[in-house]
Amino acid sequence: MNTRLLMILRVTVATPRSIGAVPHGTRRTVPITGGDFEGPRLRGSVLPEGSADWLLLRADGVLELDLRATLRTDDGGLIAMRSFGLRHGPPEVIEALARGEAVDPAAYYFRTTPRFETSHPACAFLNHLITVATGDRRAEGPIYTIHELL
């Protein structure tokens, strides 16, 4: 698999909202309060309005993530991003993450598959990219290292 770095995306999050037990698991939503992204070809900020992550803890202990965020490039383009992901790991690691402790991201599986939509000509290449990301869950919010699949 050949890839190249697309961006490093840092999002900041607010306190999760616990929806509770739903038919497919336990649902939480995490409002995104801001953030930034930077890569060789684009950089900018994360708009808090309408950006959030919908989390579903499944019965098998795997956390499904369904993030939607609006990005604004430094030259004013808007990008709609959505990414599906999975997070799981040894119970003691997941518990440490839940306590907000710093954990080596290699100790758990946190991968997502971002897709992008934009009408901004400079970023049109994003519309047809398949990308994969490794996540690093920090107390203030996750950091995603997003690679373009070549």
């Binding site: 698999m1 799981h88 598959t113 990219l129």
Partner: protein
Amino acid sequence: MNARPLMRLRLTTAATEAIGPTPHGMLSIFPITGGSFEGERLRGIVLGGADWVTAGADGTFELDLRVTLETDDSALIHMTFTGVRDDANHYFRTLPRFETAAPKYAFLNRLLAVGIGEGHRDGPVHTIEEIL
């Protein structure tokens, strides 16, 4: 990114059902009549399904596939992918996901994967790798 091979998936398709221009583009349904898959950890046959393909105004195709896989030890696996096919740029990439109730293959429920597709006369072949 680190990855390791998961399977090579060969699909056979029947005549395309051209739905035509819809609000999202030109929609065609590619019925999948069968096929096979093989990897170090699993192998078997494709029972069937289809790929819903929407052509955009810029000539790229958005793929949305659902198939059922049956392993050689009779476990059923529900597989889906979304993907992009852009023939002008030789870009045919997918994001497969799997669901199964078979304990032996439960590892599929917990992984994300990427696929590199190639068009062949008798149907597409996808080389699928697990994202580590």
